[in-house]
């Protein structure tokens, strides 16, 4: 039984095939990268796994369970968390509140307990706050000094970090990262690579969309390549580097005028 299995998923927008029979699988504890030129359908695939887009054909299995027809929040409850390519943060919420919201599913306070406030509610809030702070420690002094500021005041790179932190707060088993290093400089990218490895070591399977070759080659165990909605290659970083079709997809066809 695979951890995550994507079985010939097809997604169309009108008459356009965004994904055409994509299948692959991820086993537990791996870091898998999803690469491909712009418009290849990477984010669409994430949205299909995440339940945002219903898709035409195929099935996604998570730990042997089909995810078809599940709503995004139900999929989140099953243990799949994600970040977004264009950061979607709660701009008028503070960082600490964002971290507490990330644990939403694991907290119990409902309407009545919020109104009556039995003792366990404040205990729960305190624990949630501490857990949120402990996750923010992963990002060092980037987020911790700013816990009471609104998320909208953060810089671009810090917004990306907060998105990862929010996803981690929901204690996922599978983490989908959509271009986590966009807008970061090389030093910061190295930090993210180390972070991704650390996340994996803590038992979370990571599935990344990435353009930065340093991240792809440095962090991932396996790579899946998409082009025009189809999977064109899959394998270890070394295999992918030497794959003719991948090079074609990125660089165009190699002509051999010179030799002939």
């Amino acid at each position: 039984m695979e951890f995550l299995k994507v079985n010939s998923v097809t997604k169309t927008f009108g008459g356009l095939y965004a994904l055409k029979g994509v299948s692959f699988s991820i086993s537990e504890g791996e870091i898998v990268s999803l690469i491909g030129p712009n418009g290849a359908g990477k984010t669409t695939l994430f949205n299909c796994i995440n339940g945002i887009f219903p898709f035409l054909e195929g099935e996604v299995f998570f730990k042997g369970k089909s995810l078809n027809g599940f709503k995004p929040h139900e999929i989140a409850e099953l243990g799949i968390a994600r970040t977004f390519q264009i950061t979607r943060l709660f701009s008028k919420m503070t960082i600490l509140e964002t971290m507490i919201l990330g644990q939403h599913y694991h907290l119990r306070t409902g309407i009545w307990s919020a109104l009556l406030r039995p003792r366990w509610v404040s205990v729960e809030e305190k624990e949630a706050r501490e857990k949120g702070l402990n996750i923010l420690v992963l990002f060092g002094e980037r987020l911790l000094p700013r816990i009471n500021e609104f998320a909208e005041t953060l810089s671009y790179a810090n917004k990306r970090r907060l998105e990862i932190a929010r996803a981690l707060a929901s204690e996922p088993e599978l983490l989908l990262l959509d271009e986590p290093t966009a807008g970061m400089n090389p030093y910061e990218t190295e930090g993210i690579i180390a972070l991704i490895k650390k996340i994996r070591d803590s038992g979370i399977t990571v599935f990344i969309i990435e353009h930065d070759m340093k991240v792809i080659m440095g962090a991932s165990d396996r790579i899946v390549v998409l082009d025009h909605g189809e999977k064109i290659a899959e394998g270890t970083p070394v295999q992918i580097q030497n794959d003719e079709r991948v090079i074609q997809a990125y660089m165009g066809k190699r002509y051999h005028h010179a030799s002939t």
């Binding site: 989140a76 008028k92 919020a114 910061e188």
Partner: protein, 355 residues
């Protein structure tokens, strides 16, 4: 022993709560100083509209939906309370919460099909519902006596005490306003309120972290209509005559204007908005019909110079912190975690990579 911080904390506590005790005291003692029942009447109306504005704020301000038919639920509360006491002989004490619950049931029926959709659908449905509600009141004459309205709604009775004087009503609405503020405050500062905020800010992301957005939107809508129903019930028993004219969508737009002027997304804004929009037409009453011009001018002025209302989103909390008390910060032991310095995870913390 160092008494300094303890003393400071004590003084801070007195100052924080002193403000509220002072405000509370002023409003408790108000009827003793205002001998003119006309002024007390204005304050009672301000109370009614504070409840309505706060309840609408729960939908429009906190959850980020746009309901423009809130007066319908206010009307449902008023009519159900009037009919329950007149036709079925309910005592006021029971009719008050029951009419809130009836309004909430209608809120559920409206919200259930429309809140699944995003965008403008809820807005249109609430407006449509308001118009249909008024038409139903006008035409269902056997139940509502149509445009004639319902008169002679019984005086509220508290056990053996019958409400007759303005002051009695004043203290009742004062209690209801306090109840509304306290309960909404608790709801907002909890996991529930946090979820509502996240829906307003970024619905897709809220779903992706496991917030059941449909459920929460519906819950917020139901709670909000419950308060509107309570407010309507009080209104019916205070005026003792209700007609469909009281609940048209102009009434809803007045509520929206209160949120627009006071500001939404916090508790202070709607209260200030309700106060201003009830007080201003009364202050300029000597101008007769021209006073509505001021009403319009204020709205235009607000739209030009402070579009989010006097009290903007969340910047104003009811929780006052004395300036010398530091805001909660991350504990030092967390900042100096060994993980940062163990070499495996190195990020430059000098100015170079600072973004």
């Amino acid at each position: 022993m160092n008494l300094g911080p303890v003393l400071k904390k004590g003084i801070g506590w007195i100052i924080i709560h002193g403000v509220y005790i002072l405000i509370f005291g002023v409003f408790v003692l108000l009827p003793f100083f205002l001998k003119n029942p006309y002024y007390i009447r204005i304050f009672i109306f301000i109370g009614i509209y504070i409840i309505l504005a706060l309840s609408l704020n729960l939908i429009n301000g906190y959850t980020g939906l746009l309901s423009i038919g809130h007066a319908a639920f206010y009307g449902i509360g008023a009519y159900s309370s009037a009919l329950l006491t007149l036709r079925l002989g309910f005592p006021f004490l029971i009719a008050l919460p029951v009419s809130g619950i009836i309004a909430a049931i209608f809120g559920y029926l409206i919200g259930k099909p429309t809140l699944r959709l995003r965008g403008i659908f809820l807005t249109l449905c609430t407006l449509g519902f308001n118009i249909i509600f008024v038409l139903a009141l006008v035409n269902w004459e056997s139940l509502t006596r149509g445009p004639l309205g319902i008169a002679d709604i019984p005086l509220p009775k508290f056990f053996f005490h019958t409400f007759q004087r303005q002051e009695h009503y004043y203290y009742l609405i004062f209690f209801l306003v306090l109840f509304t503020i306290a309960s909404i405050y608790r709801l907002i500062h909890s996991r529930f309120g946090n979820a509502l905020l996240s829906i307003r800010e970024e619905e897709t992301a809220a779903e992706a972290v496991g917030v059941n957005t449909v459920h929460y939107k519906l819950a917020a809508f139901i709670i909000s209509t419950f308060y509107a129903g309570i407010s309507g019930s009080f209104f019916a028993h205070y005026i003792r005559f209700i007609s469909p004219d009281n609940f048209t969508f102009w009434e809803s737009f007045t509520l929206l204007a209160m949120l627009a002027i006071g500001g939404q997304g916090n508790l202070l804004g709607p209260m200030v908005g309700a106060f201003l929009l009830i007080a201003i037409p009364e202050i300029f009453r000597f101008l007769a019909d021209y006073r509505m011009i001021f009403y319009g001018l204020i709205l235009i002025f607000m739209m030009l110079f402070r579009r989010e209302g006097i009290f903007r989103h969340r910047t104003y909390s009811l929780r006052i912190t004395p300036p010398w008390e530091k805001k909660e910060e991350a504990p030092q032991y967390l900042v100096r975690d060994k993980f940062l310095t163990d070499g495996q995870f190195k990020e430059r913390s000098d100015g170079v990579s600072k973004s």
